[in-house]
Assembly symmetry: C2
Homo-oligomer: 510 residues x 2
């Protein structure tokens, strides 16, 4: 498979190129247009819906934009595409224009930076530039940013559930093929401490993490040296980072006692063991029992890594069960919980429960030769009517300093309290904020220059800091894992009025 | 992001490399080992579980194996990895060995070919060779084959639901980043006719397919030329492949009448329009109404492409509704259904409802210096005990020529009726097949040579033919979309006895 062909400028949907050629033939290819990317609803994982998302994927989308070229190989592929009647789909006129254009450097991009808390119906990414190019870029933009935002959101929820415990992303074996690298990166943006993904870790400057698999114990058992032999070998090779997987044979009867024996030997040699890993069974119960056995053997600070089907709800339930169950065995719950580390795999890397973010990319304005004209898409569903015009996003902070609303305003519109905030779909519903209600505000969209490559490690660290800062200013009710309080996304007065005006105009014309 | 580093030989989990170094230090790195990959349960999409899977992903895994190299860049990354104490994780001894090994050509691979109907607990992929290398390859093998098998399975269900209607994969915009290319390919293996993914299509030799987006209509509306202007432009540029998206403004009041007007103009110029596309609203109802309007205008053969949140169950329901609703409007259901084409996007590319296949890769035998020794992994859950030994898979066909069981046998075991087939987990449950019960059998695993590159188009076409042939020999009850009949996967007598023997032996030793 020719991966370069499949991942370069042709990493898009056929209709984007069909439309681009049409625009070219109609003399509209270079007409300035503005598209905005936004999602319509938070991921909904079955019984529970997210209350916020974490933006991610911009750096990799930027890299794609920077590297994509209308090169000979791509243009030859397009030239070879024929219809059933044998006619060429793309003409030399259009391909010649693409060749002259060369790349996507004519596009201007704005975006809400990675790691920020974001909400529905707010432009996350904005593209302005020649209509044909802005159209072609729809698919790769959505593909990169929808997926990483989805995974960063799930990761953030898992990290919140872990209440300060370390979170490791382990999802590669059942992750979505090459997309698993994006999932590992987005997990780091969303607050996971590390990932087991070796190549991705090195590519973005984080050390990969891992323990060992059941197969290692199986090898030693099959060769007659047993679980104890396997553990001794591991301790021997990794004396300062010895985490032993204790559930290959029987966790409490074999695994933990053998681990303790090897830990004693390690300590006698001057090394402090790191911990054990539990990968099956009732993790809460086994964590309590293992902690008790480790405590009694004098290993009070060793970590207990939990894995196997974890997600934010499972972690929440495990911590709850430990709080109830530990005292029955004379163990202080906190002494168990403080040593837990969470290996979260498939359910994080696939966002199980809701494996896609419904982000869309809509035309909101086009140069009508004499200035921008707002564009709209009507729909029988009011929530699906696209907000017209070139927009900005203002985040308003309340008197406590907490974010209280994201306001979709028109470009250049001044938002000075007292403010009227309009419900985005329910006509007549509005909210007023006085000067005393508002402690501050900021614009969320920033200019992006894809031609200035970023250092991945720095970009991820900066995104992680943004996430923490935004969560500290987000109502605890909105952060709740199940049935969160709904954050306000509103239209400004100018956005509201423009939308009403255009809807009326279009309905008149029909 | 250094994609070459992230997608080459380091596209694996950290613990695979930690174990590989341990095996090296213990003198076991080159010990012959056998791992088998299998999944434990069919994808379960919430209210409905699959009754079979379609194998896919082998060709791309083979490409990864062929291209992966322990090159300087990868080895330098590993050499740079230090623990919290500053010590190097991987020593020069181990890295030197990897460098000498160079690539993965020492591994021997067998697999069930792509496109075949496959079932749980049956080895799909088998790797034999030096223990350390076979271990490293676990993650990339699972990553490639689990995901494509997952998507090919979903595609096959969608294609079965479409009852002969054409299926197009449209999932790129919300698919899992680069993994969406694998999803597009797996959809083709699973029976989708085409994909909208341009780069992937060209890379595997299929023409990409697509229509146009709402944004094209929006452009013309914003510039004062309306939906009709947009449709005319499209018909002008694509006279022989004119499919018009009719729901940007109002499907039945605006879109379909405008499409019919343009279709008449097209036909007057000697071109036959291809059809319309519906992308919102009650698709069944709109399909009936649109078909009626098209019929009345003399466009009886034009296609109606449906899209928007489709999956196998939605398609099933739509066809059902059309069968009930069409006659009320004097329309023959079949005259609607025969013109339907299905654009299936997000729910296919993400396998919504169950976004992962639970495939695992387990050590089943290791060279004990004097021949293979079976390896086992015990578990408190009987279904999770790994079947030991070097195994083969036989598919048994009943007297009608339908597949009646997949039998997990030991390598070289002769399966001659009368056969005793043992339930894989429930002790004492067995089934007997007499000579008259069996019309034939075949072995499913075949040798794979990753160093013989395949032509992608030919590989996919061959896989599609295998799928069709296998489905024709699969009980219709097993193919049912909801609550399918359970296909038999059994242990042969030798597999059954070996498993019992080893479990007893291990329990004795504990």
């Amino acid at each position: 498979m020719r991966r370069d062909l499949a991942e370069g400028i042709l990493f898009t949907d056929q209709y984007q190129l069909s439309m681009a050629q049409l625009y070219y033939r109609m003399g509209l290819a270079e007409r300035e247009a503005r598209f905005e990317h936004f999602f319509r609803r938070y991921p909904d994982y079955g019984q529970h819906q997210a209350g916020y998302c974490i933006s991610a994927g911009l750096a990799w989308f930027s890299q794609w934009v920077r590297e994509a070229r209308f090169d000979d190989e791509s243009l030859e592929a397009l030239a070879s595409h024929t219809t059933d009647t044998g006619a060429r789909v793309f003409g030399d006129d259009f391909l010649g224009w693409l060749s002259d254009v060369g790349d996507l450097s004519a596009l201007r991009i704005e975006a809400i930076p990675e790691g920020r808390v974001v909400h529905p119906n707010v432009p996350l990414t904005v593209v302005e530039g020649p209509l044909a190019l802005a159209q072609i870029v729809e698919t790769p933009l959505l593909n990169h940013i929808n997926f990483q935002t989805l995974i960063a959101t799930k990761a953030s929820r898992v990290v919140e559930a872990a209440r300060g415990g370390s979170v490791l992303e382990f999802g590669m074996r059942r992750g979505p093929e090459r997309g698993t690298n994006a999932a590992s990166r987005a997990s780091l943006v969303g607050g996971a401490d590390f990932t087991s993904n070796v190549g991705l870790s090195h590519a973005v400057g984080f050390p990969p993490k891992g323990t060992h698999a059941h197969s290692m114990v199986q090898v030693f058992v099959a060769l007659g040296e047993g679980e104890l032999g396997a553990f001794r070998a591991y301790a021997d090779v990794y004396p300062d980072e010895c985490i032993l997987l204790v559930d290959t044979i029987d966790t409490l009867e074999s695994g933990v006692p053998n681990a303790i024996e090897v830990f004693r030997e390690l300590r006698a040699k001057g090394h402090e063991p790191v911990g054990i890993r539990l990968d099956s069974g009732d993790l809460a119960h086994l964590a309590v029992q293992s902690a008790k056995m480790l405590d009694e053997a004098g290993f009070t600070d060793q970590k207990i890594v939990l894995s196997s089907g974890l997600d934010e709800i499972t972690i929440f339930q495990i911590l709850n069960q430990i709080a109830i169950e530990a005292p029955r065995y004379g163990v202080a719950p906190d002494s168990v919980i403080r040593r837990l580390v969470y290996g979260v795999g498939t359910k994080l890397a696939t966002s199980e429960g809701d494996p896609s973010l419904d982000g869309v990319y809509k035309l909101v304005a086009i140069d009508g030769e004499g200035g921008w004209r707002p564009a709209i898409k009507l729909s029988d569903t009011p929530a699906k009517i696209v907000n017209p015009g070139r927009k900005e996003v203002h985040r308003i902070y309340d008197s406590r300093g907490f974010a209280t609303a994201d306001v979709v305003a028109q470009a250049g519109e001044q938002l000075v309290p007292p403010l009227r905030l309009f419900h985005p779909t329910e006509e007549g519903v509005e909210r007023r904020l006085s000067e005393a209600d508002v402690s501050g505000s900021e614009q969320l969209l920033e200019k992006v220059d894809p031609w200035s490559p970023v250092d991945e490690r720095e970009a991820i660290e900066a995104a992680r800091e943004r996430r923490i800062a935004d969560l500290e200013r987000l109502d605890i009710g909105v952060r709740r894992l199940v049935n969160p309080h709904v954050y306000h996304v509103s239209l400004s007065q100018a956005s509201h009025e423009l939308k009403q005006e255009i809807i009326e105009e279009m309905r008149r014309d029909m």
